[in-house]
């Protein structure tokens, strides 16, 4: 079991990084507790895989230290760390049987035959591979191959953490949820630290206790799914998480209110004051789920013109114009709204966030 600590870890693929652009991963500090389930979420090229490879030892970071259970392993090769990694494209050894595949990591480490056999059977039953142990590993379906590569990670008794690098990308949608559930079950029964890299927010939010959102080589926010949803610390988190993402409207601040396209939206005065002090580019953020439609003429409401309505079954997404800005609103099924009409929206103050240069003002 393992507690993973990253101290000032940074990585550049070019030999002598000079500008900011050269860094694939900017210096970061992270602590992952033993037995936790973590997700690394971010768009392609944001440094998630780089970070994962640094933890497993496939990459040596340009700067910083990696500590596993308090021991500095920065210089240790992957073989010397008790870490398993599952890749986006399932890696299996074609010429071996399923059982031999599962036994491979143990065989390489000189584990006795009897113990290997016992471990293989244990892992096979956990991953529902028992009936297929004698099959040749080539020509199996993608989800089976991925289960085998996961099994190769789990088979080692000393394994402290499992790193998964977008493991469900090549899996058919109808077995994806099965595998996801399997993964959650494995995590719960083995209490092993799980780090899951993905660009799919649903995967991240359902699997992990804590989600680390990354962008452009930086950790933008780390928190529980609820925190990320309700209190995005960064505009990137706001629009990357949620479907559709957060509304982000350029605004100005006055005493106790933000002004969007000439319309006032009331906010706590201390937030407005500190936003004003920041002096950068200001934006008002609110999730489509938190906007409330209110009756015409409600004092604090803002008038918008509805331009499009998408019916998504249990709810509707209305796209509306607020002056020059576009606002998306999620409305319950029973709310009747038609494109072309006006409606009044209320911005609940506790759900509305002000961002200065992309960072939330508190």
């Amino acid at each position: 079991m393992a507690r993973i600590e990253l101290r000032g870890v940074a990585h550049a693929y070019v030999p002598s990084p000079a500008s900011d652009k050269d860094w694939a991963l900017r210096p970061l500090e992270l602590v992952w507790q033993d037995g936790g389930a973590y997700a690394l979420l971010g768009p392609s090229g944001c440094g998630k895989t780089t970070l994962l490879n640094i933890i497993s030892g496939l990459l040596r970071p340009t700067r910083g230290q990696v500590l596993i259970n308090g021991v500095d392993v920065t210089a240790a090769p992957p073989q010397a760390r008790n870490i398993a990694q599952v890749f986006q494209f399932p890696v299996i050894y074609d010429t071996m049987t399923v059982a031999e595949n599962l036994a491979f990591p143990l065989r390489n480490r000189g584990v006795s035959r009897a113990e290997t056999q016992a471990r293989v059977e244990e892992v096979a039953s956990l991953l529902e591979l028992t009936g297929d142990l004698k099959l040749r590993a080539s020509g199996l379906s993608a989800d089976m191959r991925q289960r085998i590569s996961l099994g190769r990670g789990l088979v080692r008794k000393d394994v402290a953490a499992i790193l998964l690098d977008e493991p469900l990308t090549v899996i058919d949608p109808h077995v994806k949820w099965l595998l996801r559930r399997k993964l959650k079950q494995v995590h719960e029964s083995l209490k092993v630290t799980l780090v899951y890299v993905t660009h799919d927010q649903v995967e991240a939010l359902t699997l992990a206790d804590q989600v680390v959102v990354m962008n452009l080589g930086r950790v933008v926010q780390a928190g529980t799914p609820q925190e990320l949803f309700e209190r995005p610390a960064d505009t990137f988190v706001g629009y990357f998480i949620g479907s559709p993402g957060m509304n982000l409207l350029p605004c100005m601040v006055e005493e106790g209110a933000a002004v969007v396209e000439g319309q006032k939206i009331a906010l706590p005065p201390e937030v407005c004051a500190s936003a004003k002090k920041g002096g950068g580019e200001l934006r008002l953020g609110i999730r489509p789920e938190f906007l409330r439609r209110v009756a015409e003429g409600t004092p604090s409401a803002v008038r918008v013109e509805v331009s499009q309505v998408e019916d998504l079954g249990r709810y509707r997404i209305a796209t509306a114009r607020l002056g020059q800005q576009v606002v998306k609103v999620r409305l319950p099924e029973e709310e009747r709204v038609v494109a072309g009409e006006s409606c009044w929206l209320e911005f609940p103050a506790q759900r509305t966030t002000l961002y200065v240069d992309g960072r939330a003002v508190t």
Binding site: N53, S56, G57, L58, P77, P78, Q79, I83, A84, Q85, F87, Q88, F89, V91, Y93, D94, T95, M96, T97, E100, F104, P105, N108, R109, R136, A137, S149, R152, G153
Partner: protein, 290 residues
């Protein structure tokens, strides 16, 4: 759903059939025709049935050539395939060094075959050749024009020099096609260099190796130019391989009937061995897991 059947579709195959007929079938049939007749002159030939075949199959000279040929081709495969794999594994995979070593490696392949023979003919000479002189200086008695074993070894070494790069290039291409995660997974699984080779690289080279083995077998089995230039088949018959014997029969002695029978046997032998190699290598892929 029923597929419509239409015999006019055969018309689409006709062009290919015509090309194949003129390029392969008709010439081959001419040889078959010769092989069962005694050709006495342009207008005089007699049907002799299987006489030429029986004669050829009993010919001790042909047996000798076939034995030498098989030994030679097997030696070529046993040396060139592992050596080619080894070379490919040692080549750098990226950067300028990679391009440079590929060019250097490919050089022998760009040299015309008879020039290769000439180069080695001079290179291995005991009086002026770099190799010949060097070997003799080492205290070994080496003379490829007089000693049968020396001649045979010289032809073999020449072939290794000439064709190992082809095997290496094929393997190199095969190795380049292995995705990085395979190596990463092997490192995580704690695989040794040998295990990585045995379970990742070698299985993934099977396709290119099948091609390499077939090409090297067929080419070496039909080798003609280089030994012809280097040793002329001598000393004695030490380096007389099948092609050379056939040429002597057909062009030198103008025994068209026996030569035709011989050609057919030769062709069938090449076909048979290629089939065996191909089947063995594809089967090995299927039945490797016990």
């Amino acid at each position: 759903m029923d597929k419509p059947t239409n015999n006019r579709a055969w018309l689409l195959v006709v062009p290919v059939l015509l090309v194949v007929a003129f390029s392969a079938v008709i010439p081959l049939m001419t040889v078959v025709n010769y092989s069962v007749q005694d050709i006495l002159g342009p207008e005089q030939h007699v049907f002799v049935g299987t006489e030429w075949f029986r004669k050829m199959l009993r010919d001790p000279e042909l047996h000798g050539a076939l034995r030498r040929q098989l030994g030679y081709s097997l030696a070529v495969l046993v040396i060139e395939i592992p050596l080619g794999i080894g070379l490919a594994l040692m080549l750098p995979m990226r950067g300028r060094a990679a391009s440079l070593s590929l060019v250097v490696l490919a050089l022998p392949l760009l040299i015309p075959w008879n020039v290769v023979g000439t180069i080695w003919q001079i290179f291995a000479r005991g009086d002026i050749g770099l190799l010949g002189v060097a070997v003799n200086k080492l205290g070994l008695d080496y003379n490829y024009t007089a000693d049968a074993l020396d001649a045979w070894l010289t032809v073999l070494v020449m072939d290794v020099w000439h064709w190992t790069p082809l095997v290496a290039l094929l393997c190199y291409a095969g190795l380049r096609a292995i995705p990085e995660p395979f190596y990463q997974a092997a490192r995580i699984d704690g695989a040794s260099a040998w295990a990585t080779f045995r379970y990742i690289q070698l299985p993934r080279l099977r396709g290119v190796l099948t091609i390499a083995v077939l090409l090297r077998f067929m080419d070496s089995f039909m080798i003609y130019t280089e030994p012809f230039v280097l040793t002329g088949g001598g000393p004695g018959n030490a380096t007389t391989f099948l092609s050379q014997y056939l040429t002597r029969l057909a062009v030198g002695q103008f025994d068209l009937g026996p030569a035709a029978a011989f050609s057919l046997v030769y062709f069938l032998v090449v076909l048979l061995f290629s089939y065996i190699f191909y089947t063995a290598m594809t089967q090995a892929g299927r039945s490797e897991a016990r």
